[in-house]
Symmetry: D2
Subunit: 263 residues, 4 copies
């Protein structure tokens, strides 16, 4: 059978990214307690395509994933990317892996345990060097300082989603980023709260009001001091309980003098 | 050209619903102030198909919509459904129209005006008689009575979505259902609130705590007393600010003794 | 602390469903090969609330889930529902579990293996008797018979999603429903196809054209003959490659003479 | 009342973007036929916040939008952004407007008319100079050249979404970008096709096979030759009819020698 993809292309136009998108696959990760966590990922895999080839070979992306999804650690991503470059004869390979990650969490007073889900992501890009970004999204509670200040009693509060993305030199656990996010907000949120916990969380949030601006600044303060992190992007989106739209803030920072170096 | 759809089908299996789904179309509605409102609808149109025909004629659904989308009132839906039955030689026709509907709303103290969006729906079914359901989804604020009662200060509150669906004998405006929803909650929400309004809304919600159960019961109380309404389904979903999941409640009621009659 | 939820309610309005919605939790299932499959579920759990209680106790839903998510089989759902009735003093309990389920699948010629994801659901309701519905959504290829018939060459085809929901008397595996769905379409779809497989699938679909109406009728034929199934609802939604909207068909059938009996 | 937002902030951390997100608002646009088109937009509005202020004033974003949504042309966006900078005392203002846009389209043979929806976007950023990006998403049909070549008859084809984003020096209409997208694919798609049109579209696509790589290269060829365009990003995502995942390709190009200049 003819290999149409291998035909010479005369349009003289290289393609930045070509590949498979929104492939859902079961994956296995390590978690901090050194046990494996099985979860489900949505995966995008792309390579560049030089100007003189008509098409890439889409089935090879899935073949490579097949060899690795049983142990898709952060530190095996470079191996996946290297195989993508080789098998697809590309100069650059790119992978994005989005997955829910679960932690057991204890309620603040009763210590009742339950599972909390965090949407996480690995993004890897390999040309000569590997560029890797770790991402987490953490649901939290934010209570409005202005509403508290101007009102006789009460204050509007809401669920917010904090997003942290980092590039780093030394291992950072997903669990650490979740803790950083929860400490930047008015309060963590939980799957299971008994009455004494609900009292605690309500009062803790009321005593700890945070604008969306405060949240991203607190995240920035913590990550500025963390020498393992050389780049970050932090966002908070507050699903305002008094509006039908959201409040949003973003800070992005590259600590490197020369952005081609790692610190 | 052969009309494959018109072939005789020997499988002897009638089809309950067949047609087009997720067709996005511009539509024009009347609003209570008697002016037209142009908006954008996602539309599903189905008919039944008798056991002896192989296929329906999908293009006719879109042709009928073309004739009516410039004036798609509640009271013209029966005409659309009648055309569907005739053109597609069906015994039953069904249409679902989902659209954002905008109202100008004044902030409670400053009276600053802004537009609020409400997701609404028309659902019509015509066999012999027309069955019509009007639906609205209204974002509101709910403040937790338990959290208020047990906490020294503050109370968790959040954005909630109230859904009301009604069957009725006499005209009910979308605007009336929105008001009923807002009165059942701790407070309405707004697109634009100045500082004095934020104080008002915060205090109003704190003085008016509502469980998700209270919300649907208040909706039911109001609709029980409204003689125009002979059937309703009310729901509230609270995007809990202390959890990453939602609280939910539903009441459905048919006031008719014999569900084949209208009251 | 006061138990606000336990207060007497004088509005005299019972609530049909109240509980937690969109709780994401890791779950463990059995698969046909008798090995466990770990996946991630979105879960809704509701009970009814008698007219005289003000609120339900939301944390108990999560406590019950905590005891069962490590082994959430179809045949343990009644135990979960029974606990919900008891712990929440309700007459009726309801659970909905939505989860991706993975099967290893072989390409039709090369037999190259890859994982395919199917969105599945368990829905259980317990008043006196247990009512249980098993659901699967299966992506397939459909090729239009009319387009094939009237065109010199080629025929439009597209990805479609078949949905099957069944009530049954004797065990049916998710895997069986997936096979039934794939046989009703023009061709199955795969995560990994080599060139010889792509040729096979293209030709198989071209030789096996199916309207959306044909798909649901073929599903109905198969399920009519399956004595284990006493109720089904089958749907197909074709993401038409020549339109920006979808073609849709539905058949629902209850085989019981008296719908209060199981066959 | 105290202006908490105006408090001095000592954390010494400037914020890149802060504002309102996912605000749905009715807007009015010009279309090429010089008539107005009323539609519904999802809007994000952000400014930067210097390190020494604690918070921005969220209500002012909505006040500015209120003054402009009745005529939100491309060429009035700079006015909106200028007001955002002034009212919020910011050095940089940013707006993103996402909206469905409708065109009347004639079927290729019968010339039957119907409305087609295209998801469009305006993105504006104003520091000293205005940076503006126009975006459209165009559903099309793509037919696989490899599948056609290797198969006895037929070829898999599917709905694809082409995305074009451009920066330009001279006015480009949304309508022009839609035409460019449709010409790069195997065939346009339509809301209404009679039988003779379906034959035409099926055969046209079969005679015009395109890989996802061909689509983005054809887009690039056209935009390379268009002197009004000085930057573009083109993407195609094909909802493969033989897989449950998508094929994807991207080309981004800046034609300027010095990216701080406009051509």
């Amino acid at each position: 059978m003819q290999d149409v993809q291998n035909q010479i292309d005369n349009r003289n136009i290289p393609i930045d990214q070509v590949g498979v998108k929104d492939l859902t696959y079961p994956i296995v990760l390590l978690d901090r307690e050194n046990e494996v966590q099985k979860t489900v990922a949505s995966i995008n895999m792309y390579v560049n395509l030089p100007h003189d080839f008509r098409g890439t070979h889409m089935s090879r992306f899935v073949e490579i994933l097949n060899q690795h999804h049983h142990k898709l650690q952060i530190d095996s991503l470079d191996e996946v990317l290297l195989k993508m470059k080789r098998r697809l004869k590309a100069e650059e390979a790119h992978i994005e892996v989005f997955f829910p990650y679960f932690l057991e969490k204890s309620a603040p007073v009763s210590e009742a345990k339950s599972m909390m889900k965090y949407e996480c992501s690995f993004t890897g890009n390999l040309r000569e060097d590997l560029d890797f970004v770790l991402g987490v999204k953490v649901p939290v509670n934010t209570l409005c300082p202005c509403s508290k200040e101007i009102s006789e009693s009460g204050a509007h509060n809401q669920r917010s989603i904090i997003s942290i993305k980092v590039r780093y030199n030394e291992l950072i656990w997903i669990e650490e980023l979740i803790e950083i996010a929860e400490q930047a907000a008015s309060s963590p949120v939980y799957s299971l709260l008994k009455r004494e916990d609900e009292k605690y969380v309500t009062e803790a949030a009321y005593d700890n009001p945070k604008f969306v601006e405060d949240v991203v600044r607190n995240l920035a303060l913590t990550l500025n001091k963390d020498d393992r992190v050389y780049w970050y992007k932090v966002e908070s989106e507050n699903f305002e309980s008094i509006h039908n739209h959201n409040a949003y803030a973003l800070i992005e920072k590259d600590k490197r003098e020369n952005p081609d170096d790692c610190l």
